[in-house]
Every structure is written in C-alpha cells, then in structure tokens.
Amino acid sequence: MAFVNIKNLNYQYPLTKTPALRDINLQINQGEFISIIGANGAGKSTLCYALAGFVPHFFKGEFSGTIEVAGVESNKSTLEEWVLNVGLAFQNPFNQISGAKYSVFEEIAFGLENIGVPREQMKSRVEEAMQLTGISHLADRSPYSLSGGQQQRLALTSILVMQPKLLVLDEPTSQMDPIGTREVFGVIHKLTQNGMTVVMVEHKVEWIANFATRVVALKDGSVLLEGKPNEVLTSDALMESGFGVSRYTSTAREAKKQGLWKKEKLPVTLSEAAEGFNSK
C-alpha cells in the first residue's frame, strides 16, 4: 500500500465554472521526492492544498474522491489533525511568517506552542530543526529582517519542526535568487536522504532533474505525464503542452534534427548536454 494514495480526485472551487482538478490518481511511496510541474492554472497549487487538507477543509467547493496519507483519509479527518501529518510551505515567504513573534527562534516554536508541546522538548526540537536547515545563526534575529532565501528557510524550518510525515512545497524557490534556490534545494535533498516524503511544485527543471525521483506534469487539472524526471522533462508531449522545458533539451532537440545530437536520450541539465555533445 502506497504511503500517499490519491484516488479519483475531483475538485472545483466555489463560484468557478471549471474544475481545478479532474480525476487525479496518484500513488506516492515513502521517501519519494515527487516534483509537480505544469503551466499556470494547471492545478498545481490546488493539488498541494488538497494534499495538505486545505481542500476541502479550508476552501469549500465540490470535492469528490479520496486522499489517503499513512492510511488516513483527509475528508474523514479534521484540519487540526491533518496538519500534524502533512506540512505545507508555499511561495511567498513573507506571508508565511506568523507576525506574532519577534525572533526566529520564537517563530519556529510558534507551531509547537499551538499543539501543546512541553517547553523542554520545544527548545531541543527548535534547535534540531534550525540545524537541519542551517539557520541556527539567525535564531535571535527578527523574522522580518531576513533575506528572502533566509525567510523561506525559516518557513521551511517552522514546518519541519512539527515533524510532518509528508512535506508539501508549493514553489518555495519561485522568488529566490540562485543562491537562495541552492540553499532550499540543499535542505530538501538532505530531508529526502533522511527518508522524508516530499511533494514539490517547481519550475526549475534542472534542479528537478538532479533531485526528484519522479515528475508529475499537470495540464488543465489532470495528470498529463508521470514518470522518471528525464523521461517526462524531455518528452515531446510536455513541449507541446507549452511548458517551458530546459534550454538544453530544446537545443539538443534541434541539434538532433540536424544530426548533431547522436544520443537517443535528450539532456535536461548542462552536464548532460555537455557530455552528449562531446561524445562521438
């Protein structure tokens, strides 16, 4: 039995005419790093909200189908219980800061205070989480004085400290410079090596190719493609769907037409491209 099991999921936001998710079926095993890609409006964020329980508990609307995480069904659980198992972080780090705390340490402890963790445990859990994401040196700073990358790592730490079994990330690096992106991916990579199951919406295809175990491409609310990163990211179907593929993939695709790319498999990353063009 898969760790996460999505069955015939359909969802439509209130006051809208078209469904946001159509008949999604997806199984995720423990320890997998799933990357979700797709154009704007493909349903990526909605799928994240559904995994994190906010659909249908926070956003009402028409919901059918089931989502199971670790054997529990989301619509048979309450949001308070669900967030203990599934952590959610999203795009804008600024809006994820609670606004109720004056230091990074307090901010991370906010979630633990809410769920009634005893004080002695709280301190060690916060310290442990900060070490994992490498923000221990920021403990006494005000959350509002941090850079975007640091704030996003703070948001991530604040979720990780709750010790979720599944981590859902909705474009956590979209507002980040290359350094911030590297920081965030570094943390997520470390987490997956420790056995965390991660579902992440991400557009930076080169990073996905390096880290994800599986890629799911969404289009108009349904699953368009699903498979190994290289297979999905270099597929013709993805390019035809209008998703911005890697420039190395499109270069090699053109080169292949002119016989300059000899390999069967198209590249996604720079190193794959360099290797392919160098090989005879």
Partner: protein, 140 residues
C-alpha cells in the same frame, strides 16, 4: 491612560505579555490579532510607500490642489486594501498549517515568572487605583 499604556508597551516584551495574557485566559485568536497588528503595521507602512511611489511614477498627482489629492486616494488605498486581503488568506493558511486552531492546551516557549514581589506590587497598584478613583470622586 495613554502614557501608562506606552510605559507598558515599552517595558514589557509584547510576546511575553501575550503569552502571559493567554495563560490567564485571553483567547489565543484575540492575542494574535493584537500582536500581529503591532508587527504588521510597519510592513503595511512600507507597502503603502511602495504603492505611492509606483502610482506617482505613473503620473498620479499627490501634491497639487486639494481636490486632486482627494481623488488620488482611491488608487492608493485600493491596492493596499485588496493586497492585504489576499495576504490575510495566505497568512491564515500558513498559521493553520502550524496548528493554530488546534484544540489542544497551548504551551509557551517563555516561562513567565510571577514572583511574590510581582504579586505584592499588583495588589498595591490595584489599591492605589481604587484609592485615586475614590479620592477623585470625593474631591469633586
């Protein structure tokens, strides 16, 4: 009254004040509204400045006659209010994701010591307030 509030806010760390008030029975939602307002106001101010700069760079008149200034209120306040409403939803999701609505008994990171001297001082000040009110009524 105003100055005593100022002294309170200057001498007591807001997060400590709020965790103590919540411990004494103030609803957590209420404490959150107060403390987040204190924190978010400067951010709102910064955002208002950005909006003013953005609208002025598009030719909005904010400095000439009174009537022109009044008519430029809508393009300044509109984005601020609507932007904040969108942010509120995201922030609500973010704090719910961290168990804000959990039914469990909340704990606090800070241990707030309530020493004997604090208790004595509290009684003295309560008596002092009663005394000064009585005196005020008596003398008037």
């Amino acid at each position: 009254m105003v100055s005593s509030f100022a002294i309170l806010l200057l001498t007591t760390h807001p997060s400590e004040l709020m965790s103590d008030l919540t411990r004494r029975g103030l609803p957590a939602q209420f404490a959150y509204v107060i403390i987040s307002t204190l924190q978010i106001l400067p951010q709102m101010q910064a955002k208002a400045q950005t909006i003013i700069a953005a609208q002025r760079s598009r030719g909005l008149d904010t400095e000439s006659t009174f009537i022109k200034r009044v008519s430029s209120v809508v393009p300044l306040v509109g984005p601020l209010v609507f932007g904040s409403l969108v942010e509120v939803e995201e922030r609500a999701i973010a704090i719910e994701a961290r168990g804000f609505t959990s039914q469990k008994q909340k704990t606090s990171l800070h241990e707030i010591s309530d020493r004997t001297i604090d208790k004595i001082l509290r009684w003295i000040f309560t008596l002092f307030v009663i005394f000064s009110i009585t005196l005020n009524i008596w003398l008037s």
